[in-house]
């Protein structure tokens, strides 16, 4: 009897010994979580700031406040990774690094990430329950983003109908068609494609017509998800003009064209989709480096993984 009672104890000791042998040395190489100096802190109304500070600041600011258990390896590795990743997505303490329109889009993205229960991370809330966001707080965040300038932006500028402004070299598609930094060439073919959706993106004051090539349209008709290689989506974006007497809003100036091309091998790192964006009638390729596509897929990966990472498709 005695012997049989000792065995489990021995096992516990052995387990503890192994844990100590592994866990203690791990502490010496445990990452140190530092708070770099604040560059430009986001300015928000007090109640909104309080919600975001509590739920998001640990990973998305230079004010990370880790609990004692966050600093113990191996948990500290995960925490350090989440903070590093969080700060690269957006950093409330380096907020003005984002142009104003991007700042607004990020705030809308935050609301959506919260609404879709993607953020704060479930694993984080499990050990930091105070970081959870209530339905009332989400409503407050929604009314805040609805008060941002882009929400009611009206395009009142005279409509420019041609890229051939005085002194500008006119673009001829085919010979010098612009190419995105990740190698996607602009082509005007989409203007002959079918429409897969039409949208009012009221978060930023734009309206869009979304074109799909034959492979894309066929896939929708056959209810085929994920979409096959060769599927292409092109989104044309305009500003929104004043509402007329009967409530109609027409497109204002052309803003940009956004492209998604499915090639599961070529674009493996971005879930099989190649992204491109060309700005203005002169179709200036968007982004500073080819990494711009990471920004695209980050949001698509977070919010629409079930729809093969595409937002603008007709679904029930």
């Amino acid at each position: 009897m005695k012997k049989s009672k000792m065995n489990p104890l021995k096992m516990i000791f052995a387990f503890l010994a192994i844990a100590i042998v592994i866990v203690i040395p791990l502490q010496f190489s445990s990452p140190v979580i530092e708070n770099p100096p604040v560059k430009s802190e986001i300015e928000l109304p007090g109640d909104i700031q309080a919600i975001l500070q509590r739920a998001c600041y640990d990973c998305h600011s230079n004010h990370s406040q880790t609990a004692w258990f966050d600093r113990i390896a191996p948990a500290s590795y995960l925490v350090a990774h989440d903070i590093k990743e969080g700060r690269t997505r957006f950093n409330f303490s380096d907020w003005k690094a984002n142009p104003p329109a991007v700042q607004e889009l990020l705030l809308w993205e935050m609301v959506n990430a919260i609404e879709e229960h993607k953020m704060p991370l479930k694993s984080y809330v499990m050990v930091h329950p105070a970081a959870g966001i209530s339905a009332a707080e989400l409503t407050a965040l929604k009314s805040y983003v609805n008060s941002l300038p882009g929400r009611h932006k009206i395009d009142t500028a005279r409509i420019i109908r041609s890229a051939g402004a005085p002194g500008a070299a006119s673009k001829t598609a085919g010979t010098n068609a612009p190419v995105s930094l990740n190698g996607i060439k602009y082509s005007g073919d989409y203007q002959n494609w079918k429409i897969i959706s039409v949208t009012d993106k009221y978060d930023g004051g734009s309206m869009r017509v979304v074109y799909g090539n034959d492979i894309m349209v066929k896939a929708i008709k056959q209810r085929q998800l994920p979409f096959p290689d060769g599927a292409k989506i092109v989104k044309a974006v305009w500003g929104k003009q004043h509402e007329d007497k009967v409530g109609n809003i027409s497109p204002g100036n052309f803003q940009n064209v956004q492209i998604m091309i499915k090639d599961s091998k070529k674009y493996k790192s971005t879930e099989g989709w190649g992204f491109a964006k060309f700005e203005g009638l002169r179709l200036k390729p968007s982004g500073k480096t080819a990494l711009f596509a990471t920004t695209c897929i980050n949001c698509h990966r977070l919010l629409v993984p079930e729809s093969d990472f595409v937002f603008n498709i007709p679904t029930k």
Binding site: S197, Y202, M207, L225, G247, I249, S250, P251, E306
Partner: protein
Amino acid sequence: MLTKPIYAVLLGVLLVSCSQSKHPALAPEYLYNAGDQKVISSLINNKHHTISIIYGNGPALRSAQDTVRTHTAGEQYVMVTWRQRPMPHWYGTNMNGKILAVETVTVAQDPAGKIGYSYLLKNTGGNNTIEPDVSREQRIQLITGQPAAVLPEN
């Protein structure tokens, strides 16, 4: 003895949950086949919670691209109106849902050379008539009067 059926049930549950698709159901019925017609423009109407596209044949598109709007016989316009719905997974955008109506305007010339318009409304959204406060003439004017949305030169 009892464990075997339990394993069988667990395996069954696992198989069912693995085979169930997380994908949303695609809705090809929201697509409109405009044939060879091109997009002239789109319209949002938040009073009626609708969103529309105006398509046109070659002559209609050319007329819509011309800043001096003149209409000639042979122009054909189709305005498709969908019910607006919130875009799934993105609060901040509304998109087209069910097709409510398809309006067709054809421009013709009578023997005396006078330009005339024929108008056909096909209501596919049940009793949802589009903009009941607006007359047929106003609809023709709206549909044939929209300037083409600007796109980069092809």
